[in-house]
Symmetry: D2
Subunit: 354 residues, 4 copies
């Protein structure tokens, strides 16, 4: 069944496989009158692009975004926006070795069982390749949120393996390929990732996304709570396996008396709730944590089965990211932006004072 | 904007406030021919009901579920099913003291700012009272899943404060008001909850929900991944602040080599993934963790503001649950059931072999 | 599959069978701050009610509407609004004679074949009884449209059998049970309906609905054109078999040169288009025609089959409306109001001028 | 707001303007395992193409359809299908003369007032150019309906001006550019269209669409009736201003006794209802009439206003179709196919017999 769309008023629909000719999207519900050009989208596309450091996959993805419709003389017209990114620099032959094999930790098994006809090359539709156009659509949302509502979204690494980052210098991350706050831990991180790479292994990561300057009132009762829609959007990213709002799982061991946010005439005294109360934004920063599982395509062999249910040994001797969590950050930012723009539009009329 | 519906093919829409005359739901998309009566729904309604032990709120909720339509001579007809539960045993006067006050940790602030007109009595629409009909709708889904697909859903406590439960005797929980696996820890738990109650405080909780006998193939690419829809549904429960699938946040410190699930000819060798690969169920049990924040309505005073932005002191001297996490378990089970039934229906036609 | 909901931002979901205990609806997406009470809805409920003249079915439907939620101290709160009308004054035994018989022209055949389990009493879910709550939901929309946008919706008869009404005195229809513009033709109409009643026959009708004071800009490209959504809503009324916008089918024999509406600095010179251009309202009155087929439940016998595929003779010796088209008018007005309110809400943000 | 999608389980989303680089669509919800190639879609694309006779616009549209995703080794994979048609052979300069002018009968006025930023070239998003991808998506639906359900959809002309066609030789229309049943009236038709062309005028048309071999049970109560969804889909085609099911507007002057369809053990004795009872298909052919208004872009001048609200004279001295109704036929077939495929998928599980 149709599942390639997200959002109500700001609605993104995508298509495209890892080793097809292209990936693309239709972005519907963008108000007219917004200045928009391809350069606006290319910036985040580049941040997501592989090959930007020694520790992300060296597949060369040129990834030039094309706007096919919905913009006229530099302004959005209110029409649906077609987006396209051609696929380049891949070699489908690389994937012949997995042609009839279910790679553990990947969607091969479930897609093949569900659909019978499966584009195995690079994971086909289940590949992280589809996130390129999420990032492009998210860039439209980010621009709208920033230009018209001053909302800023930033993501950064908080943990890789047992290395944790928590220093508060958020400015630092702008020119930092690791989206990492602790300059002094980068050496340690690089060393760890180098070791992983040599051993052909991978590791998970924990990410924090913060959205600032949020208006009060985003989110709808009962099922379309802002946190519910955020959880949905972020969990739809391939490797995400957990999500927290505010204190998240720490709440299990917190008391009511120290987990409430006192309200003062000039605002909240703390932000345990992560910016959302009763499913609706309270004006404080929205604070989200999420976890990315380690990629399963590594050199270390594992047993699995082929389409004929015969045991085989599998190891990926091609390139791989030791930590896909790094590249997941602009994708997570994009998904949060898509949800926030949707709810900003949904929030237009809520009460009548006549 | 409309946000009181959930699901695509199995679709639940709800209404009703904590201190209105009733709460209700319309359940749409139930196939015809299913044996259904009110007793089928009452069982889970009773499990959710307050007053079942010394540690849940003593508000007397009789909570008799009424089926108003969609069933004829004991069988569903395919028509939409109207559900109604009358509200009894509440005293709205109790809430006069919060009439113009934003209770910290509650939705008062956000609802009032968003809508201007706010039914403050017991939280109105934002009250956990609305979960009664979630449980009723979920009971229809549970029955469908069990009777026609043999799918079983069970939730239980895994943590309250720093007390953790992890023994595997799932049978034990059936007649256990704490949905708790470790019989020997119940004494400790009761003592802790008693202390909390006396001090007028509350605590959070961590819950595990497991669904067994899941068919392969539930879930849709790209945005309607099964885990994304589960995250959405569970995060829409008032006090839930985090959700994990499988190993969840543990993945941040796991290596690729030990987080993949090896596939053998007779099935998976482990279940780190929590039963979902690429957003689609792989036939293993679906394993979900979620965290419930402590209730904010406690006797311990806190500073807040009233509608006129003046500082006031607030304490709740009425009854309260020391741990709402206990009563949240049948609600979480219901939400998981609603998502699974929706995806079972969405999975009807996926491939054609002619 | 779920099909009991209509609308995007203003969303109505209904339940209830003709001979069940009640019919009801949940109306979602109503902005807060609107004055609303049951009396506001009762007016149109009464207009739809049978037994108001000699020519509509004498079934006594008291039809008292109840608002169950979403209104607090006389104002909408933004929460979903539960609506309920109890069923009274019916006698299910009357329907025993059709228990296993497919009534020609009714939904018995298709519902029974589709669902196998069928509430045959009075048509069950397929009965026109479900339109009571359409009228109630439509009354909320009408009130919103009138109070905040000055939009007025009026329906009236334009044809019954070969009697056509076209005089323009719209004020006259307010106290006219036939919603008919030509006072002098009412005698002729009464005579015709009396004859039909005596012969146990029925007749179809043509209805015109006009909405005035429409803002420019309602409707969305490409598939959610205002006329497309209107056609959907009106065609979802049981007996409607055709719909026209503006000149409608007359366009087949019109030339381009005399079917365009000239635009002058002070507005359009004509309204062939019926108030909609390119799927978007142009500020002129929206003019809709629709046709209602004659009811099939008449005294004149017809051959049909029973559930066992055996031929039987059938005649309805109970009461019936000689022309259900009369009572369909408030229902059609309600459906148009529902669509217009939905699009007024959808129109909130369309362009940005910053 | 987003309005560029149609369908629930079979869902089509489109983008593209008349004079942009391309038009395209994403078709979501196609089951896997269907043989599909571009040639399958090209056939209907060619039928819709202008320039096929002397009486349709000579704009040269090469219109090669590209399938960008969702098909692997000739079979659909269940992934969303990207479709693209490049725009060729247009000259945007032709439209400079209408740059600041509202063309009567077109969407210029409403789009410009609604969105402020308007791609005036050839109507932009409001152009009939967007129907190319409707036809492509419809061709996927037609193939599915024919190959797996033997459903056949045919449209033909029944009226142009005062020339009516009603002979039953449906086979004849296959190689007939006018989709016309009466060979002997084609001479008369050609003569009429030639006269129109010379005088720079245009005319409307009436079209009939018939779908055969329909299974019993398509359509959902209450608002998603099959006829309601068909009316929505067909009314979303730019120039359609009326739609009828079965006898349609003739019902206004029919009696109950001669408008019901008698049911015999071997089927219905007539088809006044047009194949749908209570919103659900009854197994008889679905019979739809629709009317297309004459194009407003003709040589005969008309007064209108420009963006500054100043009166101007306007005449279109470029090419135009004397009757766009002819080219609308494959578009109408496509929209009916899209609705039927959606409902075939929605009909998968309706009752349980266990």
């Amino acid at each position: 069944m149709a599942g390639n769309s997200i959002g109500q008023l700001f609605r993104v629909t995508t298509f495209g496989e890892s080793h097809g000719t292209c990936v693309g999207a239709i972005v519907d519900g963008v108000p007219s009158g917004i200045d928009l050009c391809e350069k606006d989208l290319q910036y985040d596309i580049n941040r997501r692009r592989p090959g930007t450091s020694n520790f992300v996959t060296p597949r060369k993805e040129l990834d030039h975004i094309k706007i096919l419709s919905g913009v006229f003389k530099g302004k959005t017209t209110g029409a649906s926006i077609g987006l396209l990114v051609m696929n380049h620099g891949y070699n489908s032959d690389e994937y012949n070795y997995i042609k009839n094999i279910y790679r553990p930790g990947h969607a091969d098994f479930t897609y093949h069982k569900k659909y019978k006809y499966y584009d195995y090359r690079g994971g086909g539709r289940a590949s992280a390749r589809e996130t390129v156009v999420r990032v492009a659509a998210g860039a439209i949302a980010k621009k709208f949120l920033l230009d018209y509502h001053n909302i800023i979204i930033n993501g950064y690494l908080t943990q890789i393996g047992n290395i944790k980052f928590n220093a508060p210098n958020i400015l630092h991350i702008k020119n930092n390929k690791f989206y990492c706050l602790n300059k002094n831990k980068i050496y340690k991180l690089k060393k760890f990732l180098n070791t992983l790479k040599k051993s052909g292994n991978s590791v998970g990561a924990k990410i924090k996304i913060i959205a600032k300057n949020i208006p009060i009132g985003l989110g709808e009762p009962v099922f379309d709570k802002l946190n519910a829609d955020i959880a949905h959007a972020l969990m739809s990213i391939g490797a995400v396996k957990g999500i927290e709002i505010g204190e998240g799982f720490k709440f299990a061991n917190m008391l009511g008396s120290n987990s409430r946010d006192e309200i003062k005439p000039n605002g909240f005294a703390s932000n345990h709730s992560g910016g959302i109360l009763g499913g609706i934004s309270n004006g404080q920063p929205i604070v989200i944590n999420l976890v990315i599982k380690p990629t399963s395509s590594i050199k270390i062999p594992i047993k699995t089965i082929n389409y004929s249910n015969i045991s085989v040994n599998l190891s990926n001797n091609g390139r791989h990211d030791p930590c896909i969590g790094i590249r997941a950050i602009p994708v997570a930012e994009a998904m949060l932006a898509i949800v926030l723009m949707d709810h900003v539009l949904r929030q237009q009329i809520q009460y009548i004072n006549k």
